[in-house]
């Protein structure tokens, strides 16, 4: 075992006018540092392509995750796909990546643009071997990944961009590789990287994509723990216990809630300073407390974080305003979605009488549900979550 893990993030842009995407990504991650991601691009567009791609991605990812031999996987896909009445063929291109122990990667490619491998932020070559399975030429690669390495897989929509029906020939796989290298930052999440590339493709399409476009990024990174405390404990006597457990944890500390911040300040014996600067109208300003990495208001801020988390998981959303914004909710989002792989929530169960006002939104009145919803979202992002109640 090592202290590395694999993070997977993907986004899609539908062909202009289509309700469904003809590309499909299925990603699965195991506790042991194994990961499988399959990006399939179904023939045509719309519902037919969507069915082909979904079947292909789902079958391949399940079989690969169970270590079934590649030729058997491909034979199963070929035998399963429905045959198109117009084209008399069943067809979906795919790129599959299987990673074990967070470092040993296999890439299997069939008719998609070649996957891009970035080592230390720079595009790097990797060996490819052609194998013939059922008259199909499939390319196999094996490589060893290290911390901060990226594998970027994408459908051909990403390199066939252009406006007014014309494809821009100057934008090709090498340009995509150069673009990723130019935006690469070691601490950027896989999803953020995929979103940046897809945004660039959308820009090059002038907003109206000529083809379904999908980007999936696999990133190797070190595990990192972040701790968040929200709410005072149900019993006042537990204040000290909660804070001593919270501050003894390794990793960054986020304190949410005015009263919680006051308890944290008492525990640390430091002064809690308030700022009255609003980076965002709707998000209360943050506090300063020596010994804590981020101190914010509680439930309004966390509701915004939950909204960002839901958007982040939506594969059709690729504007990520929280990556650059300066308000407290964006800062929490960066820590939880990008920086952390393991998150410990310390939830105090005291009820704030001011929040029980029926005129306030329901989410406001139910802190527990807010945290449960948020941790569900974070689990879907591949984070390890632990929630303790006090």
């Amino acid at each position: 075992m090592n202290d590395l893990c694999v993070e997977i993030g993907f986004v899609s842009l539908n062909k202009d006018g289509e309700q469904l995407c003809g590309d499909r990504v299925v990603a699965e991650q195991g506790e042991d540092g194994s990961a499988v991601a399959v990006l399939a691009d179904g023939m045509g567009s719309g519902v037919k392509a969507n069915i082909l791609a979904t079947l292909t991605a789902k079958i391949l990812s399940t079989m690969l995750a169970n270590s079934i031999a590649l030729d058997e996987c491909i034979a199963t896909v070929a035998a399963t796909l429905p045959i198109c009445r117009v084209r008399k063929a069943a067809y979906s291109t795919f790129t599959a990546a299987r990673i074990s122990n967070s470092t040993e990667a296999e890439i299997i490619q069939y008719d998609n643009p070649d996957a891009i491998y970035l080592k230390g932020g720079k595009p790097a070559e990797y060996p490819k071997t052609a194998i013939l399975i059922d008259d199909k030429t499939v390319y196999m690669s094996k490589l060893r990944l290290a911390d901060s390495d990226l594998l970027v897989i994408f459908s051909d929509g990403a390199i066939h961009t252009g406006m007014g029906g014309l494809v821009d020939e100057s934008w090709d796989r090498d340009s995509v590789a150069a673009f990723i290298a130019s935006v690469y930052a070691p601490d950027m999440s896989a999803k953020a990287c995929a979103a940046l590339l897809l945004n660039e493709c959308r820009r090059r399409y002038g907003g109206a994509a000529l083809d379904d476009t999908t980007v999936c990024v696999l990133k190797v990174r070190k595990r990192k723990q972040v701790n968040l405390v929200i709410g005072p404990p149900a019993n006042k006597e537990d204040d000290h216990k909660l804070m001593s457990l919270f501050f003894s944890k390794e990793g960054k500390s986020i304190v949410c809630g005015g009263t919680t911040a006051r308890i944290a300040a008492e525990y640390l014996g430091k002064e809690l300073k308030t700022k009255l600067e609003y980076a965002d109208e709707d998000i209360p300003p943050e506090f300063e407390l020596e010994g804590a990495d981020l101190v914010t208001e509680g439930v309004i801020t966390m509701n915004r974080v939950l909204k960002y988390a839901k958007e982040y998981l939506d594969e059709g959303v690729f504007s990520l305003p929280w990556r650059t914004a300066k308000d407290a909710a964006s800062k929490i989002s960066r820590l939880l979605f990008e920086e952390a792989t393991d998150i410990n929530f310390f939830v105090g169960e005291a009820v704030n009488p001011a929040h029980q006002n029926p005129s306030l939104p329901l989410a406001f009145r139910n802190k527990m549900r807010l945290i449960m919803e948020l941790s569900d979202c974070l689990k879907k992002m591949g984070k390890k979550i632990k929630v303790s109640y006090f």
Binding site: L272, L276, E297, G298, N352, A354
Partner: protein, 90 residues
Amino acid sequence: MVAVEVCVGNSCHMKGSKRITDRLRQLAAEYGLSDEIKINGVLCMDECMNGACVRLEGRVFKLSPETADEFFMSEILPRAGKSGPSGAPE
């Protein structure tokens, strides 16, 4: 020096503490008293049930963005050494 403390707790936030802060700062600037009137954020005063809290010389006032002007005229301005709107700019 007049020190005005505006609660930035979430309950007061929902009741408009940002708009109150903005308005008070704007009025202070209009009267040329930005250096004289210090407006700071403070933690919850445990009076959440009754509206956005603003503390002045130890006394807690319940404000809304609509009553910020009135509060400025009747409570802050006299303490800042000017009486009433006579000190108003043109």
